[in-house]
Symmetry: D2
Subunit: 339 residues, 4 copies
């Protein structure tokens, strides 16, 4: 393949594949032949709305930040990688020099360059040149699709890290979308014992049960039995009601982890109960130092990525893939686009 197909999304919500020259990796960079891309909810959001938070699509850019591929070429000074290595790209590239980077929380770097946050191009392409230290090697036998799943799994890993999950604990996981289902599995992989998953949609609860939930519940009266029982509660639903429920479900001394983005940004909380139970409430903003665990758990099956992939598309059908994912949100857990 002498060309580099790149899928551009423009401000008119159109996706167009362009063919460009294959880039050459600069010093410290590696060129990756992308083999699989997951479509993230944020990609769909940009496709549908043209913006997300402060990021606005004003000119064509390339979406995608869940990618597995193979090293095609390495630039000057890159010693750890060689052509043929199977890799996952970590898409948030930090400066490496600020106080956040220095102290292990590089996800908070103010100068982070995040692939697919417009106008920065992402991974829906055939070839990507990227700083080599952002690539994580995959073990033998791990598929590119599993590699593409490492990015959302890293969110779940970070959630359990932030939640300081201790061995043998009990969790409640609110919301059984892709992140909730990954958090469920990450919680178990991280030493957690019992997990109760809460979602209003029966099919999602079933999927949670398939993936290891010990119990499931519907929000509302059915979930009342969870009051004060969970060592740690993960809010992945992104609703004010779920955040309020999370505070109720945590046991005294427990933790509430805010993974989902609340639809209205603001939530009224029971601070009195928060004090009485002396809870910790911690936020999750992407991830830091989470890819190695994500890759290891996908590789050894503790995270069943295969059960999350519901749809697959060829790269040339990427526009169709986005439209399908937008139109069938409830049905699509994870759609994969294969180069």
């Amino acid at each position: 393949m002498a060309e580099n197909r790149k899928a551009y999304l423009d401000a008119q919500h159109r996706i167009e594949i362009r063919r460009e020259p294959i880039p050459r990796p600069g010093p410290g960079e590696a060129l990756v032949a992308i083999k699989a891309n997951g479509i993230c909810g944020s990609d769909i959001h940009f496709f549908h709305q043209g913006r997300l938070g402060n990021f606005v699509v004003t000119r064509p850019y390339v979406p995608g930040h869940e990618a597995g591929g193979e090293v095609a070429e390495v630039g000057e000074g890159v010693a750890d990688l060689q052509p043929g290595d199977r890799v996952v790209a970590e898409p948030g590239i930090p400066c490496g020099r600020c106080r956040h980077c220095r102290s292990g929380r590089y996800n908070l770097c103010r100068d982070v360059v995040f692939l697919s946050a417009p106008p920065i191009d992402g991974t829906f392409c055939d070839y990507l040149s990227i700083r080599a230290d952002m690539l994580h090697k995959m073990p033998e036998g791990m598929s590119f699709e599993m590699g593409a799943l490492a990015e959302p799994t890293a969110v779940a890993v970070h959630a359990v890290n932030r939640g300081a999950v201790r061995n043998g604990e009990t969790a409640a996981i609110l919301g059984c979308g892709p992140i909730g289902l990954l958090t469920l599995q990450a919680f178990k992989a991280a030493g957690g014992a019992r997990a109760v998953c809460v979602d209003g949609i029966g099919a999602r609860r079933s999927k949670a049960a398939d993936l290891g939930a010990d119990e499931t519940a519907e929000p509302g009266p059915d979930a009342e039995r969870l009051r004060d029982v969970a060592d740690v509660v993960f809010e992945t639903a992104g609703s004010a009601a779920a955040t309020a429920a999370a505070f109720a479900f945590a046991r005294p001394g427990g933790r509430v982890v805010q993974v989902g983005w609340p639809e209205k940004n603001r939530v009224e909380l029971d601070v009195a109960g928060f004090i009485e139970k002396e809870l910790d409430y911690v936020a999750v903003n992407r991830y830091a130092n989470a890819f190695p665990a994500a890759i290891a758990w996908l590789a050894d099956g503790r995270v069943r990525g295969d059960l999350l992939i519901t749809h697959r598309f060829a790269f040339d059908d990427v526009a169709e893939a986005f439209q399908f994912a937008l139109d069938h949100r409830a049905e699509v857990i994870k759609a994969m686009v294969l180069n």
Copy 2:
């Protein structure tokens, strides 16, 4: 003194001193001759309102849980203490056997017996028999008044422990009442560097400056300069506005510590900003394992207890002391009752 004066507070908001026999310490107990009692805001609350949270004054009980004194006698099996030892009483007596007690968070013990939480008698008396393991020895030369201050100081110690203050950090402290002023000093004693104190009352800001605040600010526009700068923010004001401000003042990756009890129990929070900055929000419910530091810092002057005591009363005037503290809340930082 062959009698034990005890100050009883009844449901009609009256305080009456009764004279009772001096108790004998049971096995594992020690008898303490109380020498100084601080009046806590919660004592005043019961005096004024007859209730606090779920605790209601239905029959006469003895308030007080900030007490310094001297061991008068020890019960069977008490080896660590002997008559004449100067001690501070830790007033929340945990079961020692539940999961919370086992894991170092005994303040969350559901069976805790808290002196002065009606109907449990507290420390406004001449003699108190108490489980010996709840007594902490004071170093040579530390006064009983400083001993009495160890209890509120322990709240401040626990606040900085819960806030995971790291060496060299910057804090914002919202509210400059007794707990805010103690938290300021505990923050510095715990390795914190720069502290900004916020309060609407000028005299309190002045007191904060005297006690080591590097900067003070009024709530509102004057405090806007604190946005996104504090490594850790302590909310001690107990207002929804202060909690909201705490979220705003924390820097990315920072922590917000809820020490004050919000007057309406519920607070609307900017969860979007919470996620963007990936904050930790932690609650403080009394203290655990905090008395040794409180005593050490009061003893060596890192916490200037002497500057907090604004009024002193004799034990026989305890009713007057309570009334004065109620009537002059703004003026009284800490009133001491001396046996």
Copy 3:
């Protein structure tokens, strides 16, 4: 069964079963009908040598501290348990009041009463009355044998807790005896990714491979490839050579966990390398707060207790069981005695 069989070990290395009345549980106690006992290496040590460390067999006592059973009766004030509950006994009974108990490290309590540490009677009996808070409930469907394995598994849980295992890490486990094999499984259950097990005996390495080791090595040149690679190294072999190797195998910034007791008590260490790599070296002394995870992992199969039990004996054959375990140390991983 109207009698209580108890197996007494005397200073002449004899085991004799006596029949005594069934005890009644006192206040706060529960009477447990013991159903299965594992034989620990320390039991065998007392059987063979008559002493271990400072503990000496001077008069007959009952060995055993790995026990699963069923609640037969509860004493006054016991609300959390009822007859028929299946339980595991945690054998180290702490005071609940000292600084160690208060701070979550109750295994360091100086007043701990440890079942089977002579002269304290242990669990080789039909009925045991014990403080109810020392009993941990087993989930539905977990066998008494698995319950008996909870105690050694708790050592492994504590080892991974002390080692601060982070998600996705790599471990080296030195020694593949029962504790090594349990540590291997606990490491994986706690979020660890890759584990390399080192032992001089081929059969033990095979067992490690069966239980999830990704790689095995012989001590010496074969293990040299492990130098500087492990995030965490667990020394379970109890040899000075293994401790020295543990320091060599840890990567910069890694941790070494001392689980085994070095045969000569003293070890010469490469402190220069320790500093250059800025390691943490942490000790393991039994366990604290570890039974819930141990039980959960045995119940859900993350720890394959069934693969560790190599021999079973009836209670009346307990003397034979001890002799067999002593005579066939290399062959016996875990011998179970069933009531």
Copy 4:
């Protein structure tokens, strides 16, 4: 000053000042006019021995890594600094991209460039161009000498960080050289309560007492009273005997921090006692994220840098300064060279 004086140390142990052009700061760099340099024991070691560990003086290089100065010029893209800013240089420049850098332990970066580790030039010069992110601003009123002391103070800060000092704890500090005296003060500044300092030289014990030690002891019988009492022990003496004593002095559940480099690299340790007490033994290799606290504490006087500076020299007398420091090791705590 149109020239840049640089003090070169060669393999023949000679120090010679050369005059070179003033460098220009490259992109991301700042040019610092050096105002004060402390002489470190390692500088003296290279001066005396020509080598330290794996570092060998094979050609002339510039020693020095304890420097305070003023920004003279900033390179392209440097927004946080401007000419006239008073700064301290952190001398270990990490890559910012490896796993150690990513996880907050950048001192373990294998590609770290350490100023004054031959053949890398250090800070004994008039002008130094350095990556701007390695400069830490000093607060108003802090002298350049105090700035120069920030580097050794950062070692002490890192030691208390690694030792996980908790509020109100008791420490034993073994060795009262510059690092021991700084560790004493850092321990107190970090929330520690009581500190006992141990050194064989009376003048050093006196200095420790002046700087806040609550008690001092001679090594040997006099120090026996420290057995099992310290929450945390800092070994700064660099002797095998002191490390052994550190293990003895730690209380059950305590920590031992290895700050000094043992003269023979290897130490025989009582691993049995280590296990019984379930200690943590942690190493200190320079520092990470420690300069802000070091600067804050020097600025506010919690670390009395002024009491540590015993000798001062002009820059042109740097050779004499080194010779003096070598010849009067016992007498010189810290010698300062002023530009």
